[in-house]
């Protein structure tokens, strides 16, 4: 409802780590001076592999409204196969942004002309040395490149902290590689 709250909806599959990714961005945003950083996961019935989403709200001031996002400013999609299953762009503002883990160029996706940032996060994560299928660190690099909202260095630090004991350097490298290889353009 408040106009100065940035609303980001994350789409992924249960077990893919969308919640962890949103949490990392929340931490980095807070460290960058955003006093409001509220992350609300899908409530109740998460299952591995099922389509899930999580809401992240970011603002300069404390956020009081915890209700789910209905008209996001941006959507982040961790898995391009979700595009066939879920209307990920539901409610997305006309001038909204799509950040997508996919293999095609922005112009090949249909989001009614909205801006799209695409990165083959799956591939770059393997390139960074992570086991196949880990995409939640890489997608953060694409987010930083596409939005400029939070500096990549702050995000890399937040990634290393969150993944401490779980290949922190490789996860940070995956994010850096994704950052360097994100294409931003207009959709169909």
């Amino acid at each position: 409802m408040k106009k100065d709250i940035l609303e980001i909806r994350w789409h992924g599959r249960g077990g893919q780590g969308a919640i962890t990714a949103a949490k990392i961005v929340a931490n980095a945003a807070f460290a960058s001076g955003y006093k409001g950083a509220v992350m609300t996961p899908t409530f109740g019935t998460e299952r591995r592999g099922a389509a899930i989403f999580t809401s992240l709200k970011i603002a300069k001031e404390k956020i009081y409204d915890l209700s789910p996002i209905t008209t996001p400013d941006m959507i982040i999609v961790l898995d391009h196969t979700l595009l066939d299953e879920v209307n990920v762009a539901d409610g997305l503002k006309d001038d909204g942004l799509v950040i997508l883990n996919g293999a095609k160029s922005p112009e090949e996706y249909d989001f009614q002309g909205r801006k799209v940032a695409v990165c083959n996060v799956t591939q770059h994560a393997v390139q960074a040395g992570l086991p196949p299928g880990i995409v939640n660190s890489g997608i953060i690099g694409a987010f930083s490149k596409a939005t400029g909202l939070v500096e990549i260095d702050v995000l890399l630090e937040a990634i290393q902290k969150e993944f401490s004991g779980k290949r922190p350097e490789l996860n940070a490298k995956a994010a850096q590689l994704a950052y360097d290889n994100t294409a931003v353009g207009g959709s169909k």
């Binding site: 609300t40 409530f43 109740g44 209700s67």
Partner: protein, 397 residues
């Protein structure tokens, strides 16, 4: 230091900082991550406590009763049907005057099964004699847990710290984690006045006769009714005790100052929306929108529900034009319990407002900002036409 984490972790961190010594709990959604976090703290030796897994909530409270009777700082947590399963032991804990602290992640009650948020579980326990404190965000969760331990041991009455399931329990937001050293200064170690002591044997809570009786030491000992009267007097007195504890907390940590009700833009308001829990924060954005349209409205969150802070309520609402009470619970067959309590408190007020009751959000039904706005606009346009039957918000059938 500020961290971003879930409400359940905020609660667990408060329990750790309070140096609980015995924790007995049975997992239930949405409380589970809280007890998981506590078992991690105990396993990693960050918290020097006994974690006792049990086979039910009834046993969890039974273990807490035993541990507290042995003179330890004791904690448990639950939700919904788990809380109801404890009910008989809840009465026992308060009758035995044990300073147990319990978190409840508020959830609707089955049947039919629901795992989502409303507040029927704790509101249904309002008459057992436990103190009930409600938090509106993660900061209030962690702060309330620490204050609750001091309140419980000061007045020898158990305390529930309640927060909305999922909306707070599973949502991540920033909160300040107080320093251990400062918490230690605020919350002295628990020293029980009477406890199970092999060196000093005694009877605890034996059958008590209807009438008073002479004791072995020659003094007259209370009967059941005197013991229960004492509980009531001590509960009423705990309002003042909590106010002092809250003031001390504010001195040490800079937060608090509204132990009973938290008001937002109420000073010059003609209309006041009232509710319990995170909804009172959600309503702030609605109030701001209505203020932009020139409607003099505020919102008040009730933070302590038992003992009922009737004086603070009368002070806040006396002289207002119209009060709108939103509730995620109901005294079935009558009205919202909070509504009835507020009405009762205002009955003798000199300048009492008209008052209206709305039931909403049961079983996690989403509460939309636009809905709240529509309800409040209508209520403010027609004050004085108050009806006593609760209205339901958002019914689709």
């Amino acid at each position: 230091m500020h961290i971003i984490d879930s409400g359940n972790v905020a609660a667990a961190t408060g329990v750790k900082l309070s140096r609980a010594q015995v924790i007995a709990a049975y997992p239930i959604t949405p409380q589970t991550p809280l007890t998981e976090k506590l078992s991690e703290f105990v396993e990693s030796e960050e918290l020097d406590a006994q974690y006792i897994p049990v086979e039910s909530e009834h046993s969890a409270m039974a273990v807490c009763i035993a541990a507290s009777t042995a003179g330890t700082r004791t904690f448990t947590a639950t939700s919904a049907n788990g809380l109801l399963y404890m009910n008989e032991q809840l009465h026992w804990a308060v009758g035995a005057r044990l300073p147990i602290v319990m978190c409840v992640a508020n959830r609707g009650i089955g049947a039919p099964w629901t795992v989502w948020n409303d507040q029927q579980d704790t509101i249904a326990q309002r008459d057992v004699g436990w103190i009930q404190i409600y938090a509106n965000d993660h900061q209030q969760i962690i702060d309330s847990v620490i204050k609750a331990f001091r309140l419980a041991q000061t007045v020898s009455i158990p305390v529930m710290v309640c927060y909305d399931g999922y909306l707070l329990s599973h949502t991540y937001m920033p909160f300040d984690r107080p320093d251990q050293e400062k918490v230690d200064g605020f919350l002295p170690p628990f020293k029980a006045k009477n406890f199970l002591d092999p060196e000093n044997p005694g009877n605890f809570n034996p059958v008590t006769l209807p009438d008073v009786r002479p004791g072995q030491d020659g003094t007259i000992k209370p009967g059941y009714i005197e013991i229960r009267h004492r509980l009531q007097m001590d509960l009423r007195a705990s309002l003042e005790v909590y106010q002092e504890i809250d003031a001390d907390y504010k001195k040490d940590f800079g937060r608090g100052g509204h132990p009973f009700v938290e008001e937002y833009k109420c000073d010059d308001a003609d209309f006041v929306a009232v509710c319990i829990g995170s909804l009172s924060y959600h309503l702030r954005d609605v109030i701001d929108a209505m203020r932009e349209d020139g409607i003099p409205i505020g919102v008040m969150g009730v933070q302590m529900y038992r003992p009922f802070p009737d004086e603070a309520i009368v002070q806040a609402l006396g002289g207002k034009k119209h009060v709108i009470v939103f509730e995620k619970a109901l005294s079935y067959g009558n009205q919202g319990a909070l509504y009835a309590d507020i009405k009762s408190a205002l009955y003798n007020a000199a300048d009492r407002p008209t008052i209206q009751n709305f039931i909403l959000g049961l079983g996690g039904r989403e509460i939309k900002t636009e809905q709240l706005l529509a309800v409040l606009r209508e209520a403010c346009a027609n004050p004085g036409t108050a009806e006593d039957t609760p209205r339901w918000v958002g019914l689709k059938l």
